[in-house]
Point group: C2
Chain length 150, copies 2
DNA sequence: TATTGTTATACTCTATAACTATA
DNA sequence: TATAGTTATAGAGTATAACAATA
């Protein structure tokens, strides 16, 4: 099926085959992540948000930028997570306008739990790769990510 | 940052590093796909729907299963796409209850356009991989996908 | 004036539950 | 009874536009 598409699009067949695979893998991984998130009554975005807050204490605007969302959208997300006790807003440093977002102990515990589940859920996808393949996949991922977000 | 998480989770470090990369790449690809979809006033799900309909004429229930959605959710998605003239519902074969979904010429044109844009957007992520790495990535993707959806 | 964040509004996406029609 | 699909409802996610407070 991808073959017929490849022909119709008339691009570089090799790139297209690779892109097809990349997209398929992407949807598989998204499905796994969503399943884990749903199990804890989180959306994928909320889980990602908690994942960021595990290691950072960003301001609202920077958080919105990282997630690729409008500030107004983030306000709602943070509202709901705050109402659940997963994070806190607090006044941010020198600038009287800005707000910092901190994960709570409960939020951190949930993030930790979810992360472990994601690893366990995805590990089978990755488990039968041999050592050399793992190294190569890591390298490829790193190079693919390096090109982005300059 | 991934390193500290790895230590806290106490699992197999090697798997976790690989999973971290996989998740990061996943979000990058989702961002690219979403950007393309938005450009054509489609959601990611709608674009995926059109992608399936390029090569298939499924019934509603099978479509819902493929997308991992409830039938009621799919009804709404198909409603909106049908209102835009991107697809058609028609009575499905022998079973008087079932409904087949067909892409229209306009829908197919949009799917084709979007697919080309996705390929062009993702190709740079993939372009500097050498021949052997491409083969390996394809093989890995295939193996990763084979495990799923039996 | 420009920036940070929130609020108001409107729409899409999503699931659950109840329903209709067919099997 | 069971299945295919829709409708009703409710809530979350999202963006745009208008706003307040601060810079």
């Amino acid at each position: 099926m991808a073959a017929s598409r490849r022909r119709r699009s008339g691009g570089t067949g090799a790139d297209e085959a690779l892109v097809d695979s990349l997209v398929q893998v992407t949807f598989s991984v998204v499905a796994v992540l969503s399943r884990v998130a749903t199990r804890h009554e989180l959306s994928l975005t909320q889980m990602r948000l908690l994942g960021i807050l595990r290691d950072h204490t960003p301001k609202m605007s920077s958080l919105a930028r990282h997630l690729g969302l409008e500030r107004s959208t983030l306000s709602g997300l943070v509202d709901r997570a705050e109402a659940r006790g997963l994070l806190l807003r607090c006044p941010g440093g020198g600038d009287g306008r800005s707000v910092e977002v901190l994960i709570t102990r409960e939020g951190a515990a949930l993030a930790e739990l979810g992360y472990g589940e994601v690893v366990r859920a995805l590990a089978p996808l990755v488990r039968d790769l041999r050592g050399g393949e793992r190294q190569l996949l890591l390298g490829i991922a790193e190079r693919m990510l390096r090109g982005r977000e300059p």
